[in-house]
């Protein structure tokens, strides 16, 4: 009986250590462009696409390129390996996950946050009257 408890506890501790290790290893902090520039590590940044600047899909390299501004007002060029995300134009905010290097933020993931439908504005209602 004692042996069982000892073995069981060892197993549980091992699993929890495994959990903690993997968790710490895989976590990616939310930050700002300034932080991304300083640390150069994998980071997630929330911001918005800069509408005035170019954003286009480069078909030769299969890259989507745009400029984003984070919540602190910092701007950076973003290169994403892939097509422009489906909801990009509509997104009020984007979250990019990647690394900053050589003056460009290389995103390996883009998440688009669409505006809540509940915040339907006057314009929308006027269109449907």
């Amino acid at each position: 009986m004692k042996l069982k408890i000892i073995l069981g506890s060892i197993a549980i501790v091992t699993i929890l250590v495994f959990l903690a290790m993997n968790f710490l290893e895989s976590k990616i902090e939310y930050g700002t462009i300034t932080m991304a520039k300083e640390k150069g590590k994998l980071i997630q940044i929330k911001g918005a696409c800069v509408q005035e600047k170019e954003s286009f899909y480069d078909s030769k390299n299969n890259q989507f390129i745009f400029y984003m501004k984070d919540d602190e007002g910092q701007e950076t060029k973003v290169i994403y390996d892939g097509a422009k995300p489906n909801n990009f134009e509509l997104a009020e905010a984007v979250v990019v996950k990647g690394r900053y290097s050589e003056g460009v933020f290389h995103a390996k993931d883009i998440l688009t946050k669409c505006p809540s439908k509940y915040e339907g504005n006057s314009e929308q209602i006027k269109k449907t009257l």
Binding site: K27, I28, E29, S59, K84, E89, V95, K117, I125
Partner: protein
């Protein structure tokens, strides 16, 4: 004008409030019956339950009626539907938004409640079961009281819609709010419509099954708490068991259909993305799966008393936690799905309900803990109970890992003050070791007997499946699989598959009713192998397909882009001919511009084959500009410039063509030429590009030089008074041989191969079939 409905203002909302109050009365009456152990309030409890249930049914039909008849005076109807939707999508807008999905959850819970009332009263469990049930339904109704699906549109937009004065008779929909004071409101004649991403037949199926699963998962909780109230720690298992199997099966079906939807039409490239919304329904499913097994063990051997309480309580608490994660806005920016902030009210209700039901369940369990019987351990390590114990532990830990990963933004914020999210590689990395153990137990456990197994017969039965698994694994190594953990996972999956096929056949020969477990395990093992093949050994490539040109991608698939066609509703299908090994098929992914999202929507197309899927996701269509170098030059009359080795002189405009043109067409046509003298390598040529105006349309007709340069008029600045001041702008382009022909469109696609993905779907179907067989069997057991 839909004035008729407004003569019953607030009908929908009144029904919901009535349901809520009624269910509270029913809960109170059941509580009194429970405390007094008397039947005198039972009638009241039942009547008010039925009143509440009928009212939920009527209000659901009312919401559906408002949607079907396009009553845009309701904000919810306006927000999610429109008049152009086909019937099945129109019906599905019922649960397209938060209010409606809570309504659907409430509706299904109510339907389950009606069945549960009959079932529990036949078993003599009515008072406790319905008491707990009513608390749950009460919480759902409270959410509907706060997030009202029947809110009027003018309450959301008072400044735009509420007016005073006389009621206009035409030009829209108008309704008196207060005729005496002269206050009226205008409301929309059209709705905002349904997100095109959701406009798919899956939208009519998947959410319904998922919510039905959520509703069903509350039943194990209800029975567990009822058992704790009654201090009956064994009898509840056989009563609750069919519901646990049913709920777990339905929830699993809902999850997998969601994956199939994502794969087939949403174009997410895969069937599983470890998104918080996906994860948070997977976690209760894994716990449900664990409890399906431990319940069987308790029914058979009496052990696992506490485990079963914990797991059954967790099933529902985790459903609530998942609702909290995905509906409260707490995950904020970390999910694609997450609904945007529903408001503080919803947040606090969800959080307090989660706490309340967790406290109720675990608190009671804690109180009863001492008096619960301790069943002495009689089994050996080589017993089915022990295998089940290990399997349930592994399933629970898998659930814990996924839960921790999904909650990472909350956990890191609390622990370090900084928000972090987990990279999705975490999930695959951590589930793999557990998967290996689960695969092993899926096979090994089926060979074990209850209490103890005979070592000699066990070894004998291990031989054939191990041999099959070994051959399979060696074949996988030959094919190129070289990751040790993956090989181990494949080995045990194949082992589990072989064992369950052998055991399954033996059971079916005896009594097919008992084959549920084996069939479900065969399904699961097939899915495991399918997961590895389709998502670990998939291959993808982004390619540019020029119209008409054949390109070879990914192991000899010959692709030719044939051009696009306009389908209905301004959607374009892009036809690609796919040739492989002498077979030719046309695959047509779709792209279109959506006014709703103001962006490009893409729908993939799949070439389904037995061994693999060939998946084409459209990326974009590029219409190339002329590739040639083109420069614009301006000349004054008589001026000479040297360009690309050509000495070019602008001689003059040639109006004689204009005169000729007039004569021919009686002034409907104007044609002016420009005369250039070009000297190159001693050869002199006259080059005459033309300007034409036909019926008011202007055209510039280029002229080619023998060297391949093309001259096109861009702008004419003639001066008829003083011809010497005339000037001209032309473009000179060097046209190489290729660009002499018009440029072709280029379709950019992402092509991928998903090997053996059919194993995932086949496995799913088998697993669901296994669940079905089990439900039937457990229902029969519960009846006896």
């Amino acid at each position: 004008m839909h004035l008729a409905i407004y003569t019953f203002p607030m009908l929908g909302r009144s029904l919901i409030i009535f349901s809520f109050i009624s269910i509270l009365i029913s809960a109170t009456a059941y509580f009194i019956s429970f405390r007094k152990k008397s039947d005198e309030h039972l009638q009241l409890a039942r009547i008010s339950f039925h009143g509440s249930a009928i009212s939920v049914l009527v209000s659901s039909f009312l919401l559906l009626y408002f949607i079907l008849t396009h009553q845009f005076q309701y904000a919810y109807v306006w927000n999610y539907s429109s008049t152009d939707l086909p019937l099945h999508l129109l019906i599905s807008t019922f649960y397209a938004g938060q209010e409606g999905s809570f309504m659907l959850w409430t509706l299904y819970t109510t339907i389950i409640g009606i069945v549960l009332l009959g079932y529990s009263s036949r078993k003599g469990w009515e008072v406790e079961v319905m008491l707990v049930f009513n608390l749950i339904l009460g919480f759902l109704l409270l959410m509907l009281v706060v997030k009202n699906p029947f809110a009027y549109i003018w309450d959301a937009f008072p400044e735009d819609l509420i007016h005073t004065g006389t009621l206009p008779q035409t030009g829209g929909n108008f309704v008196w709010l207060d005729e005496v004071k002269g206050i009226w409101a205008q409301y929309p004649t059209e709705g905002k419509g349904l997100n095109p991403l959701l406009q798919n037949y899956w939208m009519a199926i998947h959410p319904q099954i998922l919510f039905f699963g959520f509703s069903s998962m509350s039943v194990p909780y209800i029975f567990a708490v009822a058992a704790l109230l009654r201090k009956e720690y064994q009898a509840w298992i056989s009563v609750a068991k069919p519901w646990t199997v049913f709920g777990t099966g339905i929830l699993g079906l809902g999850i997998i259909l969601g994956g199939y939807w994502a794969y087939e039409t949403l174009g997410w490239g895969g069937y599983w993305g470890w998104d918080p919304v996906e994860n948070s329904s997977l976690v209760p499913w894994l716990v449900g799966l664990a409890s399906v097994h431990t319940m069987m063990s308790q029914r058979k051997m009496g052990s696992f008393v506490r485990t079963n309480f914990v797991l059954s309580i967790l099933c529902f608490v985790l459903v609530l936690y998942s609702t909290f994660l995905t509906r409260s806005g707490v995950l904020g920016d970390t999910s694609v799905h997450s609904f945007v902030d529903p408001g503080m009210w919803a947040y606090w209700i969800l959080l307090s309900v989660l706490t309340l039901f967790a406290l109720l369940g675990f608190g009671l369990l804690f109180l009863r803990n001492k008096e619960m019987p301790k069943i002495p351990v009689e089994h050996s390590f080589l017993s089915r109970e022990f295998a089940i114990f290990l399997g349930a532990t592994l399933l629970s830990f898998t659930a814990l890992f996924i839960l921790v990963g999904t909650s990472s933004p909350i956990i890191t914020t609390i622990l370090s003050g900084k928000t972090s999210a987990i990279d999705i590689s975490y999930y695959a990395k951590t589930s793999l070791p557990f998967g290996i153990g689960i695969a092993l137990l899926m096979g090994f456990g089926q060979l074990l007997w209850w209490r103890n197994s005979q070592t000699s017969s066990l070894l004998k039965s291990l031989f054939a499946p191990s041999f099959v698994a070994l051959v399979f694994t060696v074949a996988m190594i030959v094919v190129g699989v070289n990751d040790a953990l993956i090989l181990l996972f494949l080995f045990f999956s194949a082992f589990a598959l072989a064992v369950n096929i052998i055991v399954g056949f033996r059971i079916i020969k005896g009594n097919p009713k008992y084959s549920g477990g084996a069939v479900a395990h065969i399904g699961m093992a097939l899915m495991f192998i399918g997961f590895v093949a389709s998502s670990r050994y998939d291959d993808k490539q982004t390619v540019s397909l020029e119209e008409g040109k054949t390109l070879s991608v990914l192991n000899n698939y010959q692709l030719t882009y044939l051009g696009y066609q306009l389908m209905e509703q301004e959607q374009y299908s892009f036809d690609i001919r796919v040739e492989k090994d002498g077979n030719t098929e046309i695959v047509s992914p779709v792209m279109y511009f959506s006014k709703f999202t103001n962006g490009l929507m893409r729908i993939p197309d799949i070439l389904n084959q037995v061994m693999q899927d060939f998946y084409i996701a459209p990326v974009s269509l590029e219409t190339p500009e002329s590739k040639s170098k083109e420069e614009i030059h301006s000349f004054k009359k008589g001026e000479m410039k040297t360009i690309d080795g050509m000495k070019i002189t602008f001689v003059d405009y040639d109006f004689s063509d204009e005169e000729k043109g007039k004569m021919v067409t009686k002034s409907r046509e104007v044609q002016i030429g420009a005369d250039f003298l070009v000297e190159m390598n001693g050869i002199i040529e006259h080059i005459k590009p033309l300007f034409q105006m036909v019926n008011g349309e202007t055209k510039f007709i280029p002229a080619n030089h023998s060297s391949g340069h093309r001259f096109t008029i861009r702008k004419m600045i003639p001066d008829k008074e003083n011809k010497e001041n005339s000037s001209i702008e032309i473009s000179i382009a060097h046209t190489d041989s290729e660009s002499n022909t018009p440029q072709k469109d280029v379709l950019i696609i992402e092509a991928s191969v998903k090997p053996y993905i059919n194993l995932v779907w086949l496995g799913t179907i088998m697993m669901m079939f296994g669940f079905l067989i089990s439900v039937v069997r457990r229902l029969e057991e519960a009846r006896s």
